[in-house]
């Protein structure tokens, strides 16, 4: 039977990518009407977190890798852009591309070292966390990279060529474009053979190995893809924030904040990270701004509670429930279609 529009949406991944992309477009259109710089700032950060979360979900969700120290890639990309742009005058757009490959290379190295001898996942998790802090300490003490003071982008004028704008809106559009690219990449991975390999490895990597899947290679590829994208997003972040320092871009707190979106939203899904981050990051920003100062302590308690209780209540993330709804909704259509098919076959059979 030909693929009608209905059966396209019946597939959960397809449905998700349309909803996610629709959301991105809506944000772009909506953002064009926003005039408040503060609000635009919040939106850009939300888009960045959504992109990071979705990129993470390839290695951390789909492949089931315990990629806990993801910020290593983000910070590496951020610093690469910062250093190349301010010290060597390299074009930021090029930096974004370079950051992708550098971060991917870093991911490759990490995989080489940690994905062997069937090392327990916990080691991998702790290693990635420790690595992020190693970077932080090295950069804090590296004067060429600005040390504790960090890197300042002193050129701030409207120049598309060097990815610099006075208004916040162009940053929003670029951030949304990056998010869209990440979404489409994740979609492509989920739909491809690699996606199936990753799912197999996630569920039972020994069985996958027995089936002939090169588990190590596939995990490495997932890491490189996730890491590379984080690097690019980091590079963009430097251009947007115009100031980075080691404590900011290698912060463990930020690291875990970035994981909140995909984990609470549903790390096996596309809409999970996107909507998770889009909801959680702005809420966090507003709460922090509203509470601020002394109430920072209360904010921390609330935040920790949301994380812990959220995970207890939604171990598979919120997207899981959306998936159940989707399955039920399209199951009726699938049943109807199946009934059509059997009728057709019966008619054809009867007419013979």
């Amino acid at each position: 039977m030909q693929n009608t529009n209905k059966s396209f949406f019946a597939d959960w991944t397809n449905w998700q990518v349309v909803v996610a992309m629709g959301f991105v477009v809506a944000c772009g259109v909506g953002g064009s009407f926003v005039e408040s710089d503060y609000l635009l700032q919040v939106m850009v950060l939300a888009a960045i977190y959504a992109a990071i979360g979705t990129a993470w979900s390839i290695a951390g969700g789909l492949s089931g890798l315990l990629l806990l120290g993801y910020i290593s890639f983000f910070g590496a990309g951020a610093y690469l852009d910062g250093l190349l742009f301010t010290r060597l005058g390299v074009n930021p757009w090029l930096c974004i591309v370079l950051s992708f490959f550098s971060a991917a290379a870093l991911a490759w190295l990490i995989s080489l070292v940690t994905l062997r001898f069937g090392l327990a996942e916990d080691y991998f998790a702790m290693f990635t966390v420790a690595l992020s802090q190693v970077f932080k300490y090295i950069l804090l003490n590296w004067d060429y990279a600005g040390g504790a003071t960090g890197i300042y982008l002193t050129v701030v004028k409207d120049d598309f060529w060097i990815l610099s704008f006075i208004d916040r809106k162009p940053y929003l559009y670029i951030a949304l474009l990056i998010l869209a690219a990440v979404i489409m990449t994740t979609y492509a991975v989920q739909k491809s053979r690699m996606g199936y390999y990753l799912a197999a490895v996630r569920e039972n990597d020994q069985a996958a190995e027995a089936l002939g899947i090169n588990v190590r290679k596939v995990k490495t590829q997932a890491m490189m893809l996730s890491g590379g994208m984080a690097g690019s997003i980091g590079a963009f972040y430097t251009q947007f924030a115009t100031f980075i320092d080691p404590k900011q871009v290698f912060s463990l707190a930020t690291n875990f904040e970035m994981l909140l979106g995909p984990v609470l939203g549903g790390r096996l899904s596309i809409i999970g990270p996107v909507f998770g981050a889009s909801f959680l990051k702005p809420t966090q920003d507003f709460l922090r701004g509203w509470m601020g100062g002394e109430a920072d302590a209360v904010y921390l308690i609330l935040y920790g509670a949301v994380l812990a209780i959220g995970i207890l209540l939604l171990p598979k993330g919120a997207a899981h429930y959306v998936q159940i709804w989707h399955r039920r909704r399209y199951a009726k259509q699938a049943q109807a279609r199946a009934a059509d098919n059997t009728e057709t076959i019966a008619i054809v059979g009867a007419s013979k």
């Binding site: 916990d122 463990l252 935040y303 812990a308 207890l312």
Partner: protein, 290 residues
Amino acid sequence: MSLEVVFQAVLLGLLQGGVYALVACGLTLIYGVMKIVNFAHAEFLTLGMYLAITAFNLGLSPYMVAVFIFAAVAVLGAGLQSVLIRPALQHPQINQMLITIGLSTMMIGAMQLIWGPNNQVLKLEWSSAAVEFGDIRLTYVRLISFGIAAAMAAAAWLFLKHTRTGMAMRAASQNPQSARLMGIDVTKVNMITFGVGTGLAALAGALIAPAFFANPTFGTDYFILPAFVIVVLGTMGNFAGALIGGLVIGVAEGLGGLVFGPALRQLVSLLLFVVVLLFLPRGLFKGKVS
């Protein structure tokens, strides 16, 4: 650099290492039995520090109340485990780790709320008094903390080796399902383990309170990474390994600080961590809680 300076660094490292060992033992116990990395472990240390300071402000010596702090926090830890971690034991590991991270954040916030974000100090009159021989100077404070830490570690070791509960913990760490079949209440053992582990961390905190400034993120800033290194070095889940590893890392950091300067002490732990994971991922020892 004279021999005495090096010797001083080594001795100080050993004393510090004793405290590290106590923290690491708690962490490795929890991992060994429950198979989760307790990212909130450092916060229990900080809590121990704060409790010691509060006790001191009420006129009690931290060394006298250390054992009570251990007990109090052990009960708290056990309670937190039943509420937050036990429901998630069937869930994927990343969820459990993130729950402990959430717990860590909550505890930092709570401590900030109760004791404020600024540094707190516990100043004993004899804080600066020290034993001196030659050019080497070891403060009484550090010597006593090491002594008590060593005593508590020995007590914990005996507990694990010779009591029913201790043996139950070891059994559960080797194979929780078999342990259950043998009639061991693994759920209760998990709870007790978490309590004991966090209690040890708090005890360590109480012991070092006279030597450091306390602030809500103290544990995370200075102790969590060395603790991880020690646990991995000593093989995750191996109690004796954590003890020995603690001393080794203490000395290594001490010497590293001497060579690279105090600001980079943490870097030494981190690099050691990377090196250990690269070359000795299963640590120096084999097996579980021994």
